[in-house]
């Protein structure tokens, strides 16, 4: 298989890596860049555990061929927090007990960020539909939805 040298920006850092052409961006992020936040739950775009934001668009990194990332700007779960502060979504997930096993959490956080970037004041229904591409088997979604709504409030009205 051919290999391609990919240069891109991940969480604000300029990075580059060498990848087999048919490899998924998910595997490249995890294996080449050590960014293990995105998980493979299905590999077919059905569970959202590998969600990232690439060039401003929420996507499943398992459906992206790694060479597609050349020149792209990517945000993963690892890029949400600053050095000294969690993103309000992360803080609200913690305080709202929105995670149990935690395997889906990075994907939910990224999907929720993509939602709030577009729609800072979503209804419960909008949150539920925006997160429909992320599967969680532990929580029944209740505390996740509540935590996203709470984070939206906090982002709209910073302390």
């Amino acid at each position: 298989m051919s290999r391609t040298h990919v240069t891109c920006e991940v969480n604000g850092d300029a990075v580059d890596f060498l990848t087999e052409d048919g490899e998924s961006l998910l595997n490249a992020l995890r294996d080449e860049l050590g960014l293990i936040g995105a998980k493979e739950g299905c590999g077919t775009g059905d569970c959202g555990a590998c969600s990232i934001i690439m060039n401003g668009r929420l996507q499943c990194s398992c459906l992206i061929f790694a060479p597609e990332a050349d020149g792209a700007a990517i945000t993963t779960c690892e890029g949400l927090a600053s050095a000294d502060e969690l993103h309000p979504l992360q803080q609200c997930f913690l305080e709202g007990a929105a995670l149990q096993c935690g395997i889906c959490t990075p994907g939910f956080l990224i999907a929720a960020k993509a939602l709030l970037d577009e729609n800072p004041d979503p209804t419960e229904t909008e949150v539920r539909y925006a997160l429909a591409g992320n599967l969680c088997r532990c929580t029944g979604y209740d505390k996740i939805v509540r935590s996203v709504l709470e984070a939206a409030v906090q982002i709209r009205t910073p302390a």
Partner: protein
């Protein structure tokens, strides 16, 4: 396996022509799962997303051009397009999650040639034309003629769907698309129904198109349902006749997603409901127009 991202259609076609094992893709939302499911690995992956014309959504005179590789979200985010083709926009917006809609494209949805493709019935009822680039230049083909069977199209190996042409809808015209899925999101349609209606000044149907998905090997246009609607005021009898015609037009299979009898029954229900929604949209729009006129 090699990855290529040509920036022109000619370049993409040349790559295709030079490699019998090459495939083109936009979102890969079908390609990747199929490869995991055992589809033979292509020798080359040709990414169409770097070709501007395939990514643009634009109104040129009275014709909309929708790039074949443009993501569904480019349609749902385009207020002008969505206002004129609410049904087609809904269909594009029903394909998978937000994550999927940021990658899935109308071209991919068509060329994957699944009988259950959501956008195809919605394209067909709007008389969409597929613009296909091939060795003899471009040809223009009604969308309904592109897919010849499950997983099969009339495209030659080195042909690429460039864009879809959609004439702006006539006055007092709207469309709707409904599908039945067991969950609220993330499923493949068990039945899909697209309807476009034109009402005359008196509120009677002057034109109608009806197309069904997931009920036959390819999308099914239903002239009998259209005939039942035309001339009517969408009264219960006309809607019931259209529903029956839609049910009769089905040639479905029993599979893991639904049964023959279920698909038949629900095809009629969705046709009736979609016709009602399309008509409501016309009435609402005209009502809003007149309100605006009053205000001004």
């Amino acid at each position: 396996m090699r990855y290529a991202a040509p920036t022109t259609i000619d370049e993409a076609r040349a790559l295709l022509a030079g490699d019998a094992g090459a495939i083109v893709f936009a979102g890969a939302t079908d390609v990747v799962p199929q490869m995991r499911g055992g589809r033979p690995e292509p020798s080359m992956l040709i990414d169409l997303k770097k070709i501007d014309r395939l990514m643009s959504v634009s109104l040129d005179g009275d014709t909309w051009h929708v790039g074949a590789a443009a993501p569904s979200s480019a349609l749902t985010a385009n207020a002008a397009f969505a206002a004129e083709f609410p049904g087609l926009t809904e269909a594009a917006g029903l394909i998978g999650s937000d994550q999927i809609q940021n990658r899935s494209s109308l071209g991919g949805n068509l060329c994957n040639a699944s009988p259950a493709a959501d956008s195809v019935p919605a394209l067909v009822v709007n008389d969409a034309i597929a613009v296909i680039a091939g060795s003899d230049g471009e040809r223009r083909v009604p969308v309904a003629d592109v897919v010849t069977g499950p997983g099969q199209t009339s495209l030659a190996h080195d042909e690429i769907v460039v864009c879809f042409e959609l004439a702006r809808p006539a006055a007092r015209t709207s469309d709707a698309y409904l599908r039945l899925i067991p969950r609220t999101e993330m499923d493949i349609a068990v039945v899909g129904a697209g309807v476009r209606i034109t009402l005359d000044g008196d509120g009677a149907v002057s034109a109608a198109t009806v197309a069904l998905g997931a009920v036959a090997p390819t999308v099914v246009r239903v002239p009998a349902a259209e005939a039942a609607l035309v001339g009517s005021r969408l009264d219960d009898d006309a809607l019931a006749a259209a529903a029956d015609a839609a049910s009769d037009a089905c040639n479905p299979i029993d599979d893991k997603r639904g049964t023959i009898s279920y698909r038949r029954q629900v095809a009629g229900v969705l046709t009736r409901r979609a016709a009602g929604i399309a008509a409501d949209r016309i009435r609402t729009r005209n009502g809003q127009t007149s309100n605006e006129e009053r205000a001004s």
